[in-house]
């Protein structure tokens, strides 16, 4: 079994669910009972309990939709993707979507709603996919028994109990679950002296790297979420130097010392790390301080001490006429930059616990802020 990166789980054990709409394939009562049975599968082996809500927001919002339905994963007509679900968390996290282009049934023909619901609810509770073919959390649909005889595999049980522990009534010795509180050595996000190692965007989110951790902020989950870098990218080092997103390539490039890595989502790309000089830096450059890529111009700026280089993302070559002095082209920005972020048409230069908002058109610093202003302090 595996869990999602960072092992997100529900802190509460009394969870709520809501069936937002129904498929025309089945009577409402049949959908209700299939969902209840699917929840019961997980209830029986964990301390979790589920109560139904008929309106308003619930932890697990269950709905049927076809094709494009408002998230990053449009459905694809009959077959292929049957449904999907999001790991525990606020907003759309935890929610389950069923592809209504499938033929939903309660039996062996068509697509069995109970079986798919049980699998997707496993995702809602924090389980990712398993490579055990007999496991419920194996990604390929396979109706091997009738729903009445269905049983979780040991792999599924081990997985969910690694997150929540066993059902209270089971004789297994209950290991008290420490309340999920931030790890003691997590950097304090509202420390006025907080500085960052690197900052980058990633598929619409903002990532702030510090030591072994990073904060993750998105429009759909404004509360900053802190994770270990190793939880998402096990082969990456900590205490990074720089990071930037090349949007056109759906890749984030991450720098430390004279090496850099490329990641796509939470997958480190093969063939990395590569050496800095492969980008066109002279051998004298042993590390970089910061990097940012201009999304429209497909141009990346690398900052090293008091100089900066400009890199053409289309040709993947360094532009001629560089390096240039930072102070000549970015008046008001002092050397030794920690990180740079492009947002709202501005460049945000991070320098220790201070942050400088720079207007590239007016070529002037328009605001000075605290570095951790993005973390809602």
């Amino acid at each position: 079994f595996t869990t999602f990166p960072g092992s997100p789980k529900w802190r509460e054990t009394n969870l709520t669910y809501r069936i937002v709409n129904y498929t025309p394939d089945l009577p409402k009562e049949s959908v209700d009972s299939a969902i209840e049975k699917a929840l019961k599968v997980w209830e029986e082996v964990t301390p979790l309990t589920f109560s139904r809500r008929s309106e308003g927001e619930a932890d697990i919002m269950i709905s049927f939709a076809a094709g494009e339905h408002g998230d990053f994963y449009p459905f694809d007509g009959p077959g292929q993707s049957l449904a999907h679900a999001y790991p525990p968390g606020p907003g759309f996290y935890g929610d389950v979507h069923f592809d209504d282009d499938e033929k939903w049934t309660l039996g062996p023909s068509g697509t069995n709603l109970f079986l798919v619901a049980a699998h997707e609810l496993g995702h809602s509770l924090g389980l990712f996919h398993s490579d055990k073919k007999e496991a419920l959390m194996y990604p390929v649909y396979r109706l091997s028994t009738s729903p009445a005889q269905f049983q979780l595999s040991q792999d599924d049980i081990d997985g969910i109990q690694s997150l929540y522990g066993p059902h209270p009534s089971s004789d297994a010795t209950v290991v008290p679950m420490s309340s999920v509180s931030p790890r003691p050595e997590t950097p304090a996000k509202c420390d006025p002296a907080l500085s960052f190692d690197a900052v980058s965007t990633l598929r619409g989110e903002l990532l702030f790297f510090k030591d072994r951790y990073f904060w993750r902020i998105s429009r759909w989950n404004p509360e900053p979420e802190v994770n270990l870098i190793s939880a998402f990218w096990p082969s990456l080092p900590s205490h990074l130097d720089a990071a930037y997103e090349a949007h056109s390539r759906d890749s984030v490039f991450i720098f430390k010392g004279n090496q850099f890595w490329a990641v796509r989502g939470n997958e480190v790309q093969a063939g990395y790390p590569k050496a800095l000089h492969t980008l066109g830096f002279p051998p004298t450059v042993k590390k970089i301080d910061a990097a940012v890529s201009d999304k429209e111009k497909k141009t990346t700026y690398f900052f090293v001490e008091d100089k900066y280089w400009r890199f053409d993302e289309k040709r993947r070559l360094m532009d001629k006429g560089f390096p240039r002095l930072i102070k000549d082209d970015f008046p008001g920005i002092e050397p030794q930059i920690d990180a740079v972020l492009q947002a709202f048409g501005f460049f945000y230069f991070f320098h220790g616990s201070s942050q400088f908002e720079f207007d590239p058109n007016a070529r002037t610093v328009t605001h000075t802020l605290k570095s951790n202003s993005w973390l809602l302090c």
Binding site: Q80, L82, H119, V140, Y141, R142, G265
Partner: protein
């Protein structure tokens, strides 16, 4: 389906395989693909990754058991890079 050597890009199973790997294995969309059995080619590595993840025999080729799995309905959550 030539077991050794290049497979033409327009072979129908290539489209299905490429789409499957893009959807569930974070395979880069605009990679120009020749399904030549070169162990280092990106598509072969992605096929091997899929085979390993799903407990299939790791051949790096679109053999029948791999194609069977690609044709089966499944969960829409990507196995890699979601």
């Amino acid at each position: 389906y030539p077991l050794h050597g290049a497979v033409r890009q327009d072979h129908p199973s290539m489209d299905l395989a490429q789409q499957y790997l893009e959807k569930y294995y974070n395979f880069e969309k605009n990679e120009k693909q020749v399904f030549r059995r070169k162990d280092s080619s990106p598509i072969v590595k992605k096929i091997q990754e899929m085979q390993k993840f799903l407990g299939l025999e790791v051949t790096g080729r679109l053999d029948s058991s791999t194609m069977d799995v690609m044709l089966k309905p499944r969960c829409g959550v990507p196995d890699v890079g979601g």
